[in-house]
Symmetry: C2
């Protein structure tokens, strides 16, 4: 969306629908061809509009990539707010976060593949914003892990940056092999991956008292 | 390498060096620009030869990508043979595999990023060969895990395909953030990630007797 359009506040419904349509088509095309090989013309062709109409909503191909990711970040933030509202102990909150995160990945396989393959094509301010978002997610996960350790009277024996990166990598990996038409139900996959991640997190911790200065 | 060159057996040292130089330049260029955006001309420019000279060693850009990965597979197979020769119990063999795998990733960051981002650009027979290699690694890891469970009298409570994928994803993820000029030593990272992966594997198992039919 161009900045003047962004400032316009309540855009007409037709405009919003067309924009959503363009973002959806761009996601499918970028995911399939790869961002580098895809063009605005491909997106225009898929939506059935002239190239100039696409530029009415976005500034550039890079802006299109960025807007796709921005939409996804909104969903992730909604999930975080829902988690905060859950009336469960910190270990179960961590488990719920992991399970929902995987379920979310399974529902957005194209987006996930595109994100992890092509996010580095973003430059300048857009890239900085995305890197900052990733830092926020990482911090959020590390806070959930710290709360779970505290609740269980544990302390980590491994650098906590490594723990969160391992968990993020392990759970994101479902996008590498999962096929919606395969035999594994999304619920079973999400539950199992959350179990694996929780086992890793809790398995590299020891009773907090053990390392207290005597 | 073209098939006639492959069949020639002992190639002169100069030819082998030039080929290695081309593969190394292609790896750096593909990793930086992305496979889709890079060209054979870029590779020729980097090596300082004419484009035609590059085609003396490879059939196509896709062949270049494939040859880069083939070289890496050779290293992985060497590591597997070394592991088989280790005189340790199955849990320690699994730990050694994980630790060496991460250390290997850290030593070949460009290759890892290229592999996981762009392997899908391979088509036909080359893609089939690569997919088969990935299946072999997965089977190898699952055999190591099964041996470790057996040794400890355990049985898995989670689908073993999920366990190996989670471990592969978690350990490969180091390539996403690791910087050789950062503060984390490769040895510490490798040891920690192996510890996390082993905790996940052993944490989703229970005593084998528990689920035996009564």
């Amino acid at each position: 969306m161009k900045s003047n359009a962004r400032k316009s506040g309540a855009a007409p419904a037709g405009r919003r629908n067309r924009e959503a349509e363009i973002l959806q088509a761009a996601l499918a095309i970028f995911a399939e061809k790869g961002y580098a090989a895809a063009s605005i013309q491909d997106v225009a062709d898929a939506v059935g509009v002239l190239k100039g109409s696409v530029y009415h909503y976005i500034d550039s191909k890079e802006d299109l990539l960025f807007q796709i990711f921005e939409n996804a970040h909104g969903d992730a933030e909604l999930m975080m707010r829902e988690l905060e509202a859950l009336d469960v102990d910190p270990v179960e909150r961590l488990r719920a976060y992991l399970e929902r995160g995987v379920a979310n990945t399974l529902q957005n396989l194209e987006l996930q593949s595109l994100y992890f393959r092509d996010w580095r094509y973003l430059t300048g301010e857009r890239r900085a914003k995305l890197v900052e978002r990733r830092r926020q997610y990482d911090r959020y996960l590390r806070d959930l892990i710290a709360a779970a350790y505290k609740f269980k009277g544990l302390q980590g024996t491994v650098n906590q940056r490594f723990v969160s990166s391992f968990v993020i990598g392990g759970t994101n990996w479902v996008a590498d092999w999962y096929r919606p038409d395969g035999k594994d139900s999304p619920a079973e996959v999400a539950k199992s991956y959350a179990q694996l991640a929780l086992a890793a997190v809790l398995g590299v911790a020891e009773p907090a008292a053990a390392a207290r200065p005597r």
